[in-house]
């Protein structure tokens, strides 16, 4: 039973409740606390925010290393530098005036604060009026933002380095915040507290594991095992069945080169070049099926995706040739035993559904050779 098949409320509401309780308990629904941060009197915002970012970041990198989650399948906000820079400045101005952000405005309103309710009304109006302001700001907005842009990739720095530097910066900010808040108290407050030390240790351990290839080493080993076990393959007939059944999350990718508009694609397939694969956005619950003519390109793409952490990707066994032979024009078995007969019955039905022509009687075998044709395999 996958969580994806449940109603979104099953995960959304409990997570939202926990989010709301934490914002209220830490005082972030109180504009005085946020104004205190913006004037340097109070460091609750910095401490909560960096504490949460570091905790969740370390959780994701370790969960991904342990194989619990595909980090690449988690929805990542896109990047569009000019639009986001202008948006951040406009947002920052509003943040200062309201002394609340969108989430904390809802918490303030839910605590019975009238300014919170006013900010919620302003947010609704500002969002609804975005089309009115659009002609003024649209000049800086890219037609399509960059998907999958991360600091490690954009700066060309190993992930472990980014994780350690960010953890150190966040812990320093949190310690500084504590010191500024109780300047005259606590003599040893400069020392990291237990949670801060744990975060630093986890970040350092991840960087060490990452740089020594422990993480990628295990990954390469696991990938090799999957290739040997052929767990990475799907049969043409099975794929045809999935397409016909409308399997949720199924995405078929065509990696053949030199495609033009007249080329036959497997129904529903999306053409993509090997070099564009890096920017392919994969959603949670997507199952990718890759194919090329013989299968070499598809297999290379599979490895690239797998290294990115995408696990639910399969290669169509024997590629387009198998689709043509087994789905579009399946051949009546020469030696019809029960298994072969059942397989042909299924193939025949699928062939008709996909608009192919099942070869019912294998009479016209050309002299000097019989089909199926020879295929390149991966």
């Amino acid at each position: 039973m996958s969580l994806d098949s449940l109603h979104p409320a099953v995960t959304a509401i409990p997570i939202g409740i926990a989010f709301g309780v934490i914002l209220e308990r830490t005082g972030l629904g109180d504009p005085r606390v946020i104004a205190g941060q913006l004037t340097g009197r109070d460091f609750t915002v910095v401490r909560v925010m960096f504490g949460a970012i570091v905790t969740a970041m370390l959780g994701v990198v370790w969960a991904s290393t342990a194989g619990v989650v595909d980090a690449a399948a988690i929805a990542l906000p896109p990047t569009d530098v000019p639009a986001q820079a202008l948006g951040a400045v406009i947002f920052g101005g509003g943040f200062a005036l309201a002394a609340l952000c969108p989430g904390t405005a809802c918490v303030a309103a839910a605590s019975g604060r009238r300014d919170g309710l006013a900010a919620v009304g302003g947010l609704f109006a500002g969002t609804a009026l975005t089309p009115v302001a659009w002609p003024v700001v649209r000049g800086v907005v890219a037609d399509a933002p960059r998907e999958g842009a991360t600091l490690a990739r954009d700066l060309g720095v190993p992930l472990g380095v980014v994780v350690v530097l960010l953890t150190i910066a966040a812990v320093l900010a949190m310690v500084a915040g504590r010191l500024m808040e109780r300047r005259s108290l606590a003599h040893s407050a400069w020392r990291p507290t237990t949670p801060e030390s744990v975060a630093l240790a986890l970040a350092a351990a991840f960087a060490l594991a990452d740089s020594r290839g422990l993480v990628t080493g295990t990954q390469a080993d696991a990938i090799a095992q999957e290739i040997v076990a052929e767990a990475d393959h799907v049969d043409a007939l099975d794929l045809a069945q999935w397409i016909r059944d409308g399997t949720p999350g199924l995405r078929v990718l065509d990696l053949r080169e030199h495609l033009d508009t007249s080329t036959y694609l497997i129904p529903g397939a999306q053409p993509i070049a090997l070099e564009d694969l890096d920017s392919l956005r994969v959603a949670h619950g997507d199952r990718l099926v890759l194919y090329s003519d013989g299968g070499a390109h598809a297999a290379q793409a599979w490895v690239l995706l797998r290294v990115r952490g995408i696990r639910d990707a399969l290669v169509l066994k024997d590629g387009m040739a198998a689709w043509e032979d087994e789905v579009l024009s399946p051949m009546h078995p020469a030696v019809p035993d029960d298994t072969a007969r059942a397989r042909f019955a299924k193939a025949r039905e699928l062939a008709l559904w996909f608009g192919g022509f099942p070869r019912l009687v294998p009479v016209d075998a050309p002299p000097g050779g019989t089909r199926p044709r020879r295929r390149r395999t991966c």
Binding site: A12, A52, A63, F95, S111, D115, G121
Partner: protein
């Protein structure tokens, strides 16, 4: 130098707890937590009904502002509903329900409305707000998130210094 925190939970522990909730969201829902996306899901269809075609005419706007009204199937809207429920329960249990005394002055209300409106536009331009972009995107090391964090907070610090709101100073 007084701090304004009184009766609120420890910020570091609160931050770790929030990080755990965010991590749980990444693992079970495949996405981070947010807020401004829910406003877009609710206000987008209203804007679309008021001026049909205005949103679809600009492709970069169409991807930022949904026109279909389906809040009961929208993860982020349901999540924000949870935030409101959680905050009401928490405020009542902590004795903070309607306890504020500095929230009624006309100047305070008009600043909150204007600030909210600016944040609504800014968040659409930036693909998110302090929750969905800065917090969730920040934890995933998104480049856009780490651009947004210093710029939004830097601007907010400057604007606060220029237009200080006396109603928000002092201890509760």
């Amino acid at each position: 130098m007084t701090t304004v925190r009184a009766g609120y939970a420890d910020a570091t522990l609160g931050g770790i707890a929030l990080g755990m909730v965010l991590l749980a969201s990444f693992l079970v829902a495949g996405r981070g937590i947010g807020a401004s996306g829910a406003f877009a899901a609710l206000a987008g269809p209203v804007a679309s009904a008021a001026a049909p075609g205005a949103i679809g005419a600009a492709p970069a706007l169409g991807v930022r502002l949904p026109t279909r009204f389906e809040p009961w199937n929208d993860w982020i809207v349901l999540q924000l509903l949870g935030v409101v429920v959680g905050a009401i329960v928490s405020a009542r249990r902590a004795g903070r329900w309607r306890a504020a005394t500095n929230d009624r002055a006309p100047g305070r209300i008009s600043r909150a409305v204007a600030g909210g409106a600016l944040m609504g536009l800014g968040a659409r331009l930036a693909w998110g707000c302090t929750s969905g972009l800065a917090l969730s995107g920040g934890a995933l090391l998104s480049t856009g998130a780490w651009l947004f964090i210093p710029l939004a907070f830097g601007t907010a610090i400057i604007v606060t210094a220029l237009a200080r709101d006396g109603r928000l100073e002092g201890s509760p």
